[in-house]
Symmetry: C2
Subunit: 202 residues, 2 copies
């Protein structure tokens, strides 16, 4: 397998688990929080600045307003005139590009599909699932309170959608952004992994 | 294989070919123009009224205007007060439901995913492909003139998108409408078929 695999995923759909299983299957690196850590180290930002950067864009308007009140003109990172959030995105993007240069891997989230769009060895995958399935999974896997679970899922999806929309300028849920979209609930997580492997050519 | 498979597809993506191959693989009926013919016979409409009904909605506004000038109040088909286009859609939907009742099959286009949304044995698939690939394929397969091919592809996609949007009330390209979305160009038509079969569980 000679591809860089990017995975977008709805909250609670099992996209991260699928990504880990793919990486294990092919014996290639898996990047999620590892990516954040690496980006933080290389760019000199404090690690906590990168934590959940993807979850910061609560909605486009708030996001834009937040940009306006962020620190401008900090030349330390070579991104003067950009908001902190934009500088974090650029630093992450640089790391994603370096990682892809190093060879086949799995990268979850962070608009990696968009960041790597000039490369020809990238396969962009999206994992979706019904709300029902995600509710049950999030309660078991992430220990969410039953009463609050639905709200948390919707909020996280909205944040991810806004983050993608803000940085890529396209809808997160537009199928044209991906090579393969797999619903994980109908046939299960392991079946989704098999399906992706078949697509990639075993 | 005990499913009803619906296939939406971008013009020139090979969705029809993939549908035929799936039907052959599973030994189940394939419905495309056959569906139109059957709908025409059962409802009493002239067959030509059904030809390319899907390609009639050039855009939402034009479509709405066209509805206004269509014949109203024709009680012959039991859809009085509806435009001709809406009556055709309802007649087609009835046929799609009857076909699904008969057992596993492949149905291409005509918002079958939406029409059958109450059934639990339906898998909704969408086939996409890059413009470049669809251009080459449409010129070879449908004999389109090279100069006109891009325009014809865009026009047909727009019509299909508007048709879906009008009848379903959702974006045709929203990945949440489908269980599986496969780009046919990157890995090829036969690989797309294999991928779908893996998803369905061989």
């Amino acid at each position: 397998m000679d591809k860089v695999i990017t995975i977008g995923r709805q909250y609670g759909s099992g996209g991260r688990e699928i990504g880990e299983k793919l990486a294990k299957r092919y014996g290639i690196p898996f990047y999620d929080n590892e990516l954040i850590t690496r980006a933080a180290k290389e760019s000199g930002f404090a690690e906590e600045s990168f934590q959940n950067a993807e979850d910061k864009a609560t909605n486009s308007l708030l996001y834009s307003l937040a940009m306006g009140i962020n620190v401008y003109g900090n030349q330390d990172f070579g991104f003067s005139g950009l908001s902190l959030d934009d500088r974090i995105f650029l630093a992450q993007s640089n790391v994603i590009r370096k990682i892809a240069e190093e060879g086949p891997c799995v990268i979850v989230g962070r608009c990696a599909d968009y960041v790597l769009k000039e490369r020809e060895d990238v396969v962009n995958i999206f994992i979706s699932a019904s709300m029902d399935y995600r509710l049950k999974r999030a309660i078991v896997q992430y220990g969410l309170e039953e009463k609050k679970a639905a709200g948390i899922i919707l909020k996280n999806d909205k944040r991810r959608g806004n983050y993608y929309n803000y940085h890529v300028g396209e809808k997160w849920t537009n199928l044209n952004n991906y090579d393969l979209v797999v619903r994980s609930d109908v046939m299960g997580i392991d079946n989704a992994v098999e399906c992706i492997c078949t697509y990639l050519g075993k």
